[in-house]
Symmetry: C2
Subunit: 103 residues, 2 copies
DNA sequence: GTTATTGTTAACACTATGGTTAACAGTGTG
DNA sequence: CACACTGTTAACCATAGTGTTAACAATAAC
């Protein structure tokens, strides 16, 4: 989870994810929009992989990357669960009003 | 956005958010579950504040912290938007089938 | 007015990020 | 074979993150 949020905490990597959300891309394509060197691209993609957000298939000398939704889903669920603290409070209040005998 | 995901990229801070999702807490209460020093707690809370996830009200010598859902919502929306690349692909395909004249 | 409590600031160490350049491995292409 | 292309590794630099201890500010309590 640390790795996922860490991977998302960088505008360049979010840009790469944005690109990948439109379909697979090569390392070169992922790095092109950003004014960074090739090793920098390698590192960013490596972090995305480490977080499980991206998988890679090597085809000749070209590496094709694609997005993996699962860790994003987990991160989203975590946020959603903890974001709804207010609704949660309302729910607990409602429970008290509706079913005062429970618990 | 960087600050929000960065704030979430640490288990200690996620624990603090978890605690705050159950209601306001003091700095001491936020730090107690973790085996870290007081300055470390101060820094973590400061990062949560910097990300806009937490607001603080000083009452005497005690600082009361509470969660602010807005940045969490934005982060969640970003993920959701980019997580649905597959559904998005299906949607675009459907659009092509339904309205081939558009675009 | 001491003394305890709550929290912050300052100074330091260690590690990780994000970037660079230079050199290299592997794969196509003339 | 020589050359260009794609991407990685190695070595380095600067900055930021995570933690510490020690000292301090401010408030509460005796």
């Amino acid at each position: 989870m640390d790795a996922v949020f860490m991977a998302l905490a960088d505008a360049t990597r979010r840009g790469m994810i944005h690109r990948l959300s439109e379909g697979p891309a090569t390392i070169g394509e992922l790095g092109r929009p950003f004014a960074i060197s090739k090793p920098a691209v390698t590192k960013h993609v490596k972090m995305l992989e480490r977080a499980g957000l991206v998988t890679r298939r090597k085809d000749g000398r070209v590496h094709h990357c694609k997005l993996n939704a699962k860790p994003m889903k987990e991160a989203e669920d975590w946020i959603e669960k903890h974001r709804k603290f207010w609704e949660g409070s309302l729910d607990r209040l409602a429970s008290l009003l509706d079913e005062p005998e429970r618990e």
